[in-house]
Amino acid sequence: MIDNPIIFYPSAVLIILFAIVTLFARNIIYSMLSAIIVFFFGALFFYVLGSEYNAIIQAAIYGLAVPIIIGISIMFCSPYSKKEKAEGKNKFLTPYLTILSGGIFLLAFIYLVLMSLAMNPSTFHYLGNLQVNSFDTIWTFAKGIFINYVWAFELISLLLLIVIAGFSMLKRRGI
């Protein structure tokens, strides 16, 4: 586990900022790209917290696979029609969003500077009293998945199988 404020605070500000940008972006592609950044920062948080396996899964599924699915669905649907573009929705929201984002960045910067001034240099290093051994983590992962929660694991496998079969059936029926 890396308990480092220099990593945490900028990441925290950026993840919240990009989450807000995802909701308010006019172009759905920008929204999707912001969502990818949020998911990667989530993976970073998992890694910093000592769960490397979850970080890899998060980056692989939410950072790569899910955006591909979303991108394909955007490509098939092309949600922003010319009519909606011509209406110019959220036209008056952009200045407020810019001011809000700039304010958040400014507050985060001031807070970071104040924190770095007041911080003890020893906190830049790994904490000695709270460390997660990577090998122990993987071992407990395996123990949790294959011993403690094996029924939940099998149930999720069954769920994934049902989803795949359902997709193929829907496709065969031509829905």
Binding site: I16, A19, Y53
Partner: protein, 98 residues
């Protein structure tokens, strides 16, 4: 430091909740639901790291949630595609007659 991580998880959950309630675009609603799941997962991992340093149950739960969330998103996008082919719009207000 633990409360900072929990606070970030809470903020992500609130952003996702507000987005799923008030945003009109269907794809953004689905992404907002994923933000809620991400916030929950951050809280799970945080509690597992700081409070359950032996079994790491929170890591396992987060792993399950990631898998289920990806499946849910794939299903939801397929349903959205089916609905879009009939409605020709991504505005969720036009999907009220399900």
């Amino acid at each position: 430091m633990m409360y900072n991580y929990l606070f970030i998880g809470l903020l992500l959950f609130i952003i996702g909740l507000l987005g799923s309630m008030f945003v009109k675009n269907m794809i953004k609603v689905l992404i907002s639901i994923e933000f809620m799941l991400l916030g929950i997962n951050i809280n799970f991992v945080t509690f597992a790291t700081y409070c359950d340093n032996i079994n790491f149950d929170g890591y396992i739960f987060a792993l399950f949630y990631i898998g289920i969330g990806a499946v849910e998103l794939a299903l939801a996008l397929y349903l959205f595609y089916l609905m879009y082919s009939k409605k020709q719009s991504d505005n969720i207000e036009k999907y009220s007659d399900l």
